[in-house]
């Protein structure tokens, strides 16, 4: 199938994009209704990768019904404001932590907006756009039904009440104080405030794990989801959380939330010496399912070619340099009412088995 072909109205599509610095997911829920979960920008035209793809397959932006910010880390939020500005029918869904007065004060006190602080920049632009169009927004909490129509239902399974309480304490520290320097939104560790989504289309479950982590506390993370009263749907599609890291693993996910051998997909992540997923992570995932795909290998070492003067100076002045990978794209399509999922891989995307073999 050509990359530029759009799904038919009775076909589900899950498209996962990743380049080791960013992650974005686009889902066609049937009947030309789409949602976008997280975003990063294509370096070539600086546009949200999901919008580039919609352009390629000829889908009008009006078909996007919701845009979700699972959390505010840089690799998940760049370009989300462009999506909200262009997709006029899209409701905005975010973690309840983002909608606190303290959090809002923090991002709006940063009057000198720059792209270098993408969390501040994107969230502020999104709220301004929503205000301008008098738009709708929803915040996600554990076991909240966000969208319910005859075609599909979307639930948030996190953040938990206790995770919210922890986040509020952390955010209170961020409150701008006179004579403090401005800064970007810091990461909240471990990431318990992120959104996990369960999308049910025609009885089939799609579990999007975001970056939700697990530390064994029954009040937060995956432990809380697994122990909670939640929609009784086992998913056969799974976006593996937090780039396959052990910090987001809970055996119960594979037992309680997923069908056997689910179709699983993930993006890689690289920062300094940290490259995810690790070899052990891949082996662990493959011990649960053979149907696993990854957008890019975490081992890919891409370099930008420059003129000799620049190459010499860079070699002298920096310890290491690496470029983000090309955009990998995993596309899964399935006719509504069936479980005949067909994976297609574009760019550097590959099966997890293949990725492990070359590691």
């Amino acid at each position: 199938m050509s990359l530029c072909s759009s799904p038919s109205s009775n076909e589900i599509e899950i498209s996962i994009f990743g380049n080791s610095f960013g992650e974005s997911i686009l889902i066609h829920l049937g009947n030309n209704e789409w949602i976008i979960v997280d975003s990063f920008k294509d370096y070539l035209n600086k546009r949200a990768i999901a919008l580039n793809y919609l352009d390629k397959i000829g889908v009008d932006y009006g078909a996007v019904k919701a845009a979700v910010a699972t959390h505010w880390h840089d690799d998940h939020i760049c370009g989300l404001s462009e999506i909200m500005i262009k997709c006029k029918n899209a409701a905005f869904i975010c973690s309840a932590a983002i909608n606190s007065k303290e959090f809002n004060e923090f991002i709006f006190s940063d009057s000198d907006l720059i792209e270098g602080r993408p969390g501040n920049y994107e969230l502020r632009q999104i709220l301004e756009e929503l205000s301008k169009r008098k738009g709708n927004a929803m915040y996600a909490l554990e076991n909240r039904k966000l969208i319910d129509n005859k075609l599909y239902k979307i639930y948030s399974l996190s953040p938990s009440d206790y995770a919210m309480l922890l986040a509020q304490k952390e955010i209170a520290v961020l409150l701008p104080k006179k004579n403090q320097p401005r800064k970007g939104i810091p990461h909240v560790h471990p990431n318990h405030t992120g959104i996990v989504l369960l999308i049910v289309v025609n009885g089939q479950g799609i579990l999007l794990g975001g970056d939700l982590e697990e530390n064994g506390d029954s009040r937060t993370g995956w432990s809380k989801i697994i122990d909670s009263v939640r929609p009784v749907v086992k998913s056969n599609n799974f976006k593996i959380p937090h780039h396959g890291s052990i910090t987001a693993h809970h055996e119960g996910i594979w037992i309680s939330l997923l069908e056997k051998e689910p179709i699983s997909f993930l993006t890689s992540f690289i920062l300094g010496s940290c490259a995810l997923p690790k070899k052990a992570d891949m082996k662990r995932i493959l011990s649960h399912t053979n149907n696993a795909w990854i957008t890019t290998s975490p081992d890919e070492k891409k370099q930008v070619k420059r003129d000799p003067m620049a190459e010499r100076t860079i070699k002298e002045r920096v310890k290491a340099i690496r470029a983000m990978s090309d955009n990998g794209h995993i596309r899964l399509r399935c006719p509504l009412g069936t479980k005949e999922w067909k994976p297609e891989l574009f760019g550097p995307a590959l099966s997890l088995e293949e990725c492990l073999a070359v590691k």
């Binding site: 709220l127 690289i270 470029a323």
Partner: protein, 191 residues
Amino acid sequence: MSANFKLKVEGTGIEHGSGMLGNEYSLYHCAKSLPAVSVDRILGTVRDTTDPGLLSERYTFSANREAIHRDLPAMRIINEEQGGLSLTFHKWRGIVKEIGEETFIARTSELFNNVPEEEIEFFRADIQDDDKELLSVGAEFYWCIGYIISSSGQQRRASFLRFRRLPLFTNEGIKIASEKIRDIQENITWL
């Protein structure tokens, strides 16, 4: 700043940008590669050796004599007393992500060329003394590489790493932000 400087593109017969440091000037500049630009012995005169490809852009010459422009190579007058220029041919904007004992890691975007975002590990020793206290996770900086050209015409490769000084929060700014949030939230329907 009271020193004068001149910037002109020779070969066009026109002198562009002659005035006082600290002000903003329009100038024409062949942006693409070093052989297209050479520097006269006269203080701060840029001579274009090829006619085609001239670009018109505005540079802001700040008090510290850095010409900052997001999209085009920056030129910096190093020392107006002795003459000399720095010509920048690659410029990155970076955000610090991790700090180690001897190095720090940043995500960077090159500003002149359409290339992928990069991750660069810099040596902390390369940070200028007056910028060292600005190194923190989330700090923004610019990194330029190019040539320094002395008044005698000698050139050597150079690298400049400068951290951005962000404004401080003020009571007034916090109050304005609070009012703005209230106005914005009034128009959003949280379902």
